[in-house]
């Protein structure tokens, strides 16, 4: 199968910031992303779990497959939102099928 090089950006971010992040991604011309639930975790500010929570507490994971040349725009946009907030931003290499879609 023919594949193309791409970058996979995964951003773990607080739920109240989710909309701002996706708005920033849209603004930076990012074509696609998916949002995954996070059930709990632990970090410098202690552990947490989504169980029984109301409101917009907890974290989300935003995953974004992107052409390598667009990576810097994305990271700049994401960083502005994440900056002072909790959250982890990782980038890894991947190969993608049907690259014409990106």
């Amino acid at each position: 199968m023919e594949t193309h090089k791409a970058k996979r950006v995964a951003i773990i971010i607080e739920e109240p910031m989710e909309r701002r992040l996706t708005a920033a991604l849209d603004g930076a011309g990012v074509q696609g992303y998916s949002i995954l639930p996070v059930l709990g975790g632990s970090g410098r500010s202690g552990g947490w779990t989504a169980d029984g929570q109301l409101g917009r507490s907890g974290m989300r994971q935003v995953v974004c497959i992107i052409r390598p040349e667009r990576l810097d725009d994305l990271l700049t946009a994401a960083f502005k939102v994440v900056d002072r907030h909790m959250g982890v931003v990782t980038v890894s290499d991947c190969d993608v099928l049907r690259a014409e879609r990106f």
Binding site: E14, E15, P16, M17, R19, R20, A23, S45, G46, G47, T49, A50, D51, G52, Q53, L54, G55, R56, S57, G58, R84, H85, M86
Partner: protein, 326 residues
Amino acid sequence: MENVLSLALNNLLSPIILSFALGLFAALARSELTIPEAVAKGLSIYLLFAIGFKGGVAVTKNGLDSTLIMTLMAGLVLSALLPLLAFALLRTLTKLDTVNAAAVAGHYGSISIVTFVAGTSVLESSGITSEGYMVAVAAVMEAPAILSALWLISRGSGGARMDAGLWREILLNGSIVLLVGSFFIGMATGQKGLDEIGPFIVAPFKGVLCLFLLDMGLVAGRGLRQAKGTITFGLLAFGIVMPLASSVIGLAMGAAIGLSLGGIVLLMVLCASASYIAVPAAMRVAVPEADPAIYLTLSLGVTFPFNLTVGIPLYLALATMFSGAA
């Protein structure tokens, strides 16, 4: 006095409070008992819908009192000003920095709708009526405190904390929209509407509230377990002194406006209660440097159970004495 105690004891032995205690115990004992997030949200949607609707129907019965506007205004003002009192108290009683103190203060200007519901239950079992529109007052008191908190912070550090997005999020947050919306639905459909859906929103209400408070107990207990160390003696004192002080202010305000005994008690409860849903989310967006462990534990782990167990009966007793005296 005897009355107050027996009322408090009565309140303590209701299935609702005991369910909260069970949740608290289970969390502190690190039981595996959990309530899925979706179920907790479903329960809260039910409660908000039911309480808003019943408030709206009550308004069609009691009529739109001339004091309505004044009570709404009072709610706005209280929500906006109580954070200043809270801030001053915190700076006296604790060593919190400006940012954290302001964030906590915002929670205490805003309200807890479940504490409000618990207050309604106590009134009901005591056979005391209240103004139906107190639900609308609750809705009105959710947001202004957030602005006061942000003002307190920006005064210190400079730099605007509000943007249009945050405005919309605060004013159109889920619980306000659902509460106000169902309030209007209740007003529009009146007793006829209530007859249709009463078997859903009236009869099982208290039972649902039990499960909801079980969940609140679980969440509060988990918070307390994690926060030991964070909650100093000063903070603890604040979490009890602040609702007492606020309730007295609410009492004065309610009496000045001319609310009924029930209405006064509910205004006291609103003043005394602290937010743990709307305000925390806003604070995470606008003041990420404030520590959620502090404000959540204070509001949900200290003030919420205090109001539920000791506070509400006490406010009722105070209001009754005051009415008797007046």
